[in-house]
Subunit: 707 residues, 2 copies
């Protein structure tokens, strides 16, 4: 093999020389002794290895089982094949650490069994698409399988006979590669996270098996035209700030193939400079992913997202370890590693463990920031405001970026609010029960389209009970909101953005401000949402709150005996109308108790405004929806209108100690001074001191003045 | 003073001699040096004292403020007076520890200010009852105020001039005692937790101020007839097992005046033998209170109960410290003390801290047990089954005791189920927002009567949509369920009880069993609920589940566009009927996903049975109800009927790691063999092995046979 490749090019020769040393991706022959020592010396290495070892032991005990693929996500064969690749990698690592041949034998026997069966299987009987997966219902899972298996193989390579290697490489891996890059070639060449998993699987397999053509295809696409493949994906799926087009939840998922394939490229071909690609894009991507979490570790659930996903996932452990060890990503990443409470047993994990042990950890530096979206950085972005220490942080997220591809929601200028370790105003996320087979096979349910993606499911304006872009994804992809202003200084933080295309003839302009008045413990959230049109429209602005309303001071007509649905389409068909309030003068606020803290939202309301109290759950025959709650500020018909609200976190209701403090809000007398298409001015008092807030769209120098 | 009292009796002379040494309740002159050293030596003492010191510092900073009483619970003056007594005690303790006169001065100035104002106040403007409280809206809070203030006074006694003492004792304490024991004499003499707070306040004040007559009144009631007073309360409010008639939530609350007044009696008059009273009742009461918690520290919310109340409350810290130091309550109490993470800065707290430091801690010994209710132990009881280690325990609670006085619910044979650190089938608890003034002044809301107390709010049978005893508390107090069987052995745990009076002519007989079949990780809950009557009735058995239904395998007609209330009274008016299912043969189960674990309840159903899916929240104009959910097995008309269900915890849905295992239940083929008024036999299979369960009411020797 060596002589064959040596004649080609420097790149390839490097590839082959290193290719003969196994393993050489996450673990390397060169460092294995140091890793072994690290497991002895560093608690985080020790406990991480203990988990790997336990998985490996379980594998040895349970023996080899390769069932004929039959079930969808969460089903028995699905979970078994998943466990197989996880256990194979665990055994591969355990073999490297211990030199115990039993672990290598498990990987060998497992791969030989797959080699024997793989070609006998037809297409997956529950395939989600055509041609679909083979081992799993979707090709994506097959790709993930291969990303793990190739690492396992790399780890035990030295323990295998030439004959076994040949059988595994020819009968299994070559066929898997064909399956991924040819049979499912359209996914392989797609600029999409599925494409990245496919490229990583094929590319890594190419490196380990010394197949140049697989590597080249993975990097540049099947046709070598860079219209697909890893480089195209890196170029097109991330903004210059390292924001991933589908949003944080999928960024978290996609980060693994990006990082591990990059790591493989770097290992086999350091001169390729993959880490420097697009000005150190991958390093930025890891930081951006972490900046898109709240202090409770959970990713902002923009677009389709499973809500309890944290940065503790395996993907993020890989990402953090590699970014720290290979990309000089900074010692505040060690804080995240410590929260993750594990490292990958690898050269990179060792670096992290050593640094933690050396006391280098700094608190993760959450920062207010504007993260540019779009491959060229011109697709709007995500605005994040943060106030307070990590232990009790008020955070505000404004989504003003691209549609987010197939997983995008129609949520232009959506606002998420967090405080005190929890959600205050939240996004529903995806309507999906991940891996629960009785819930549509663990896949998105149909309510993900009828509810999750609809505008009314988000904390932004719906006009005329119709979603942005009429729910047309393609239309949504064509344009983006634009940044009006982002400023973070000592006095305040502000993000302001404008959306002109969501509704024909309607301009949406939203400004979110964090401002701490004199004598306040916490910042206030000032939210100014102007909508301008020549024609009258109905404007609904929901606040999807967590917690329980404890003060509804204005008269409300409640539907006590019969609960009607609020509408018939665009998500409104899923809302029960609990009641309608008429916010009388001087009583224009609602207080919610959430995680033992009060949140009072004071708002402006003219005589036409109604407050609709709603609960999610109508038209839900399969009980797929959580019964979340909102109050909706509803303006029945207006051309121009400015919603202004101030949300104030206050007080404490400790039911264990039976102490309540600060139960009344301090913000009073919210009053509009003036509102035009270009400028808004309003007043309020906080503890008797009066503040005037002036916002001028076209005056970047003094966009926001509070005095 | 000394000569005056010495002529009376030994008891009184002891009282007076010790009465002159201050302090001598929780802290004593004798041990204060050891306590000071303990604060230096033991982390739990150090951190506990740090909190006290911080409160004391805050007090010094904020200065003296005694507002004229004006607000209800949670309001500004309410919270200020509460803070005053807490800060006074903190300063009292800080003074003892540091000898710093500034702390003593705060207590002195505060008490003198109260002494000046107290008599100028009329009845509380927001009083909850007549005559009501003076400092607070209810007399109860005034009593609590005095229990704290007298301890604070005791701590700083040595720092006060004779003139100041006289002013405080005569102008303030004597008037407070009069207010408690005379103006509110009916509460003082009541056998009820309010009476105990009153007795403790008056009695402790009597000891500290050397007023024999106050002590005597507190012990034996105003008329010295032992129809009221502390001894009557001890005699009548607790069962011989130390179970408190109002239930665990109020037991937790009442335990403080019981324990601290007992401690005072013991300090001033050890020969009285209060700790030995009723065979060591108070020690049993502390253990029983703790046995009435789940492993998440929360009290079983039987009767009116705030649901997040844990044993971390101050009352339980006092109780645990005193029980450990004074009553030899066992080293497993140290586990609780460590969970509480604090001790009272006191002689008792010191003992606890020393023992923890000496490594004596054992895990708290949660045990399956039958706790007798009723002053004579003949009022039924509470059955508790527990399976598994404290870290992951399946617990079942059956309420088969007395009504529970004014805070009692109509919930005969109610079942609560916990697992995996959380509620599985839950009790709503009280409809109350404690200390939230905008919610009915922080008091019980009217839905506590219309919902919280009603039978349908509980996991037990409602006949004919009418609550037990027709919702008549007095009727409920007249009778109790009776124990049929309680057994806990290696093979199973069972509690079985019978209720003959809740409905005229209807016998309710419920048997709950924990049984671990071969090959199971966790126990199954077998629930057999027989109802027998000569007349046909509608029987509704709800399962108030936490979590989200993930499998509803039988056809259900859902109310998608209009949601009707299920009924018009007895709690049914608060239920929205989401849908009605017809549980077809072979599909008689429901699976719920809760805290990442699945729970499948398989149940028997004949062709008449319907499954009603309901959500709480109808007729709730003030948004006082949480929107909890239940499935109700509803038998429209039957004379005799046996509900049998098996609830199986299984599998795991880890959304962070994206792993699902054991998503299908293993219990199958649940079949009734026979059911009479005296015996029930049924079968089921678990992982292909078949089990027959036989229950024979009148055969105590082999009440339950599983084979």
């Amino acid at each position: 093999m060596k002589t064959f490749f040596l004649s080609i090019s420097l790149v390839i020769s490097v590839l082959v020389v290193q290719g003969q040393s196994h393993p050489s991706i996450m673990l390397t022959q060169k460092n294995i002794e140091a890793v072994r020592k690290g497991i002895k010396d560093y608690p985080i290495m020790a406990s991480s290895y203990k988990t790997v070892k336990k998985d490996a032991e379980k594998a040895l005990k349970s023996g080899i089982e390769v069932p004929t693929p039959a079930d969808g996500g969460g089903g028995v064969t699905h979970e078994k094949h998943k466990k197989n690749y996880q256990q194979a990698l665990a055994c591969g690592i355990a073999y490297q650490v211990t030199n115990d041949e039993r672990y290598a034998k498990f990987v060998k026997d497992l791969l030989l069994e797959y080699a024997k069966q793989y070609n006998t299987w037809g297409r997956h009987p529950k395939r989600k698409q055509e041609p679909g997966g083979k081992i799993f219902w979707q090709n994506l899972n097959d790709c993930v399988w291969q990303v793990y298996m190739i690492q396992a193989y790399d780890c035990v390579y030295g323990a295998l006979s030439a004959a076994d290697r040949k059988k595994i490489e020819n009968d299994l891996f070559a066929n898997v590669v064909k399956e991924l890059s040819e049979v499912n070639g359209s996914i392989f060449n797609k600029v999409h996270n599925h494409g990245t998993w496919s490229a990583a699987a094929v590319g890594m397999t190419g490196y380990v098996c010394g197949k140049k053509e697989w590597v080249q295809a993975a990097l540049h696409g099947s046709k070598q035209d860079d219209k697909g493949g890893f480089l195209a994906q890196l170029n097109q799926l991330f903004s210059p700030d390292g924001y991933y087009a589908e949003g944080p939840y999928y960024q978290r998922y996609a980060i693994l193939p990006f990082m591990i394939f990059a790591k493989a490229i770097h290992q086999y071909d350091p001169k390729f400079g993959i880490y420097d690609f697009r000005d150190g894009l991958l390093k930025k991507a890891v930081n951006t992913a972490l900046q898109c979490t709240y202090t409770n570790k959970v990713f902002f659930p923009l677009n389709d997202a499973i809500k309890d996903k944290t940065y503790e996932t395996e993907e993020m452990v890989y990402a953090v370890d590699i970014a720290y060890s290979d990309m000089q990503a900074g010692d505040d990443l060690l804080d995240i590693a410590q929260q993750q409470d594990r490292v990958i047993i690898s050269d990179a994990g060792l670096q992290v463990a050593q640094a933690i042990d050396a006391g280098k950890t700094n608190p993760f530096a959450y920062k207010p920031m504007w993260i540019k979206d779009g491959a060229d950085g011109k697709g709007g972005g995500i605005g994040i405001l943060r106030s307070g220490a990590n232990a009790d942080q008020l955070a505000v997220v404004m989504k003003a970026g691209t549609q987010g591809m197939g997983h995008g929601h129609f949520d232009r200028l959506n606002l998420l609010v967090y405080d005190n370790g929890t959600e205050v105003f939240s996004d529903y996320g995806a309507v999906r029960f991940l891996n629960v087979e009785t819930k549509n096979g663990g896949n998105y349910t149909k309510e993900n389209d009828t509810w999750g993606k609809q505008t009314i499911a988000h904390n932004t304006i719906t006009a005329d009970q119709t979603s942005h872009f009429n729910g047309n994804e393609k239309k949504g992809e064509e344009t983006t909101p634009s940044l009006v202003n982002f400023t973070a200084n000592e006095k305040f933080q502000v993000v302001s953005a404008e959306e002109k295309n969501a509704y024909k003839g309607v301009t949406l302009w939203r400004t979110a401000i964090l401002f701490t008045p004199e004598g306040a413990d916490k910042a206030l959230l000032l939210d100014v949402f102007s909508v301008n049109s020549d024609q009258p429209h109905q404007y609904d602005l929901p606040f999807w709150y967590q917690g329980h309303i404890t003060d509804l001071p204005f008269p409300s007509e409640m539907n006590g005996k019969q609960l009607p649905a609020l509408g018939t389409s665009n998500g409104y068909q899923h809302l029960w109308l609990n009641g309608t309030g008429i916010p009388a003068n001087g009583k224009q606020y609602i207080t919610v108790l959430n995680n033992r803290r009060f949140y009072t939202t004071s708002f402006l309301a003219d005589t036409a405004i109604r407050v609709k109290l709603v609960t999610l759950g109508a038209q839900d025959p399969n009980l797929n929806l959580r019964n979340e709650k909102a109050f909706i500020l509803s303006q029945p018909a207006a051309t121009n209108h400015t919603f202004i609200s101030i949300t104030e976190p206050h007080g404490r209701n400790n039911t264990v100690a039976e102490v309540t403090t600060g139960a009344s809000a301090a913000v009073k007398e919210l009053k509009l001074v003036s509102a035009t298409k270009e400028a808004v001015q309003f007043r309020f008092t906080y503890k008797k001191k009066s503040y005037t807030v002036s916002i001028r769209k076209n005056d970047p120098g003094s966009f926001l003045v509070i005095d």
